[in-house]
Symmetry: C2
Subunit: 261 residues, 2 copies
């Protein structure tokens, strides 16, 4: 039986057409599979990821798994993979896991971050790594509104249309905004049991509009009730979004939530 | 008489072939001159810069001047130029200055910064914005050695060969290393009355070798004495270097130095 490897990796999503393999496009999954193909000298290895990040979306703690035809110690797998990765991907951790582990289906939660740059003009050093919002923001309004994101809600209004997933109910354990005035940035962070397609970027779009006084501060309950994607309007750009961490056991998830309370 | 404009700008140097115009290559000077050519509807405007940063070198406070055939208020010049800049350049300040002001020849000093990332593998988010040094460093040795950079020295050993400037004596007012362990980075900063070609990158290369115990901690006096570029060996990569600020009056220069003491 082939051993199953769990790999934690970070990547700058700027130059990838997202995580998931697509013919003739540079993707994270394709990049890892190409490296594994070299290591196996031609035996294809399929890589499964925890979350399919879009083009331009970054990861600091993406998780993938694959079965590998050969018993390479995790430390060697880490060095071998890193030696074949381009500079916009880094392998952070490798472990051999039981065959019951699945990068996508074993998750109990994920943590996403979203960086918003608030300079008047786009900061040239942040253009690929933040969303940019140069307009007035009342951070107190955002702090009040974001409390309504915590809990179990039907997020239909916050899911890009066209998804195949029928059940749009998700539970958010942590939703917070951290101000970094020295860097002219604010940072949004969400921990939840699952996230719909584009959900974080739509949440951030609504929160910024609340901060800019374009929506009432109690907008979230209304948006949960109407179940209409058109109501949420703006999707914040991919460049600010980071898949920070994926949780596979309740203890780790609860600890991450507790650390933020 | 045409008014003279002084412009302070920042840029991500990654995708530029340096500051100075070169035929058929994307440069910062060429980008600004192309924007001014549009504003004048065809009258060429020559841009003079404080320092000619190399390909891949960044600036947070580059200064340029030019004479402009028309009297545009500084605020409008700032908005107009920014509207025509690509996303890797931002205009931070515009002022009308006396004709005696020259971006290069009026300088009394400059401040350069150099970021070194210390992660084991290259951090995908820092690959264009830091130098990378994954080896052991004794920061105490660097802190001791860097004191020898302060003062008036013949920096012949620290100048890329081929320059036309004969006098290699420069005065460094501030030379310091700041540790940022949370970010796995160290930051070098130098304020001086002038810098030779590649001088900061060569200084950083020597300092890292001292920290890694490949050179004695009292290496600088010897290198000043030998006046031989071959002795300094390593030039730290362009990606870590930032032209942070250019000083045009002694008071501003002295204040910057005093703030760091």
């Amino acid at each position: 039986m082939m051993p199953r490897y769990r790999v934690i990796l970070a990547y700058d999503g700027t130059k990838f057409h997202g995580f998931q393999s697509q013919p003739n496009l540079r993707t994270v999954q394709g990049t890892i599979e190409a490296a594994l193909l070299k290591m196996t000298k031609g035996t294809p290895v399929t890589v499964f990821g925890a979350g399919r990040t879009d083009a331009g979306v970054h990861a600091r703690g993406q998780v993938v798994h694959f079965n590998f035809p050969g018993n390479i110690p995790p430390r060697n797998m880490l060095l071998g993979l890193n030696s074949m990765m381009p500079l916009d991907v880094v392998i952070k951790d490798v472990a051999i896991v039981p065959e019951t582990f699945h990068a996508q289906f074993s998750t109990v939660g994920k943590r996403y971050g979203y960086r918003v740059s608030r300079t008047r003009f786009t900061d040239p050093f942040k253009r690929f790594y933040t969303g940019h919002y140069p307009y007035q923001l009342d951070l107190g309004r955002i702090e009040t509104a974001i409390q309504d994101v915590v809990g179990t809600h039907d997020f239909t209004s916050f899911a890009a249309s066209g998804g195949v997933i029928k059940n749009k109910v998700r539970t958010i354990y942590t939703a917070r905004m951290v101000d970094h005035p020295d860097e002219d940035e604010i940072y949004f962070e969400f921990i939840g049991n699952g996230f719909l397609y584009n959900m974080v970027r739509i949440l951030v779009g609504v929160l910024l509009e609340i901060g800019n006084d374009r929506r009432p501060v109690d907008e979230f309950p209304r948006l949960y009730a109407v179940k209409d994607r058109q109501e949420a309007r703006i999707t914040a750009p991919a460049s600010g979004l980071y898949l920070q961490e994926v949780y596979y056991d309740e203890a780790a998830l609860q600890q991450a939530v507790a650390e933020r309370q």
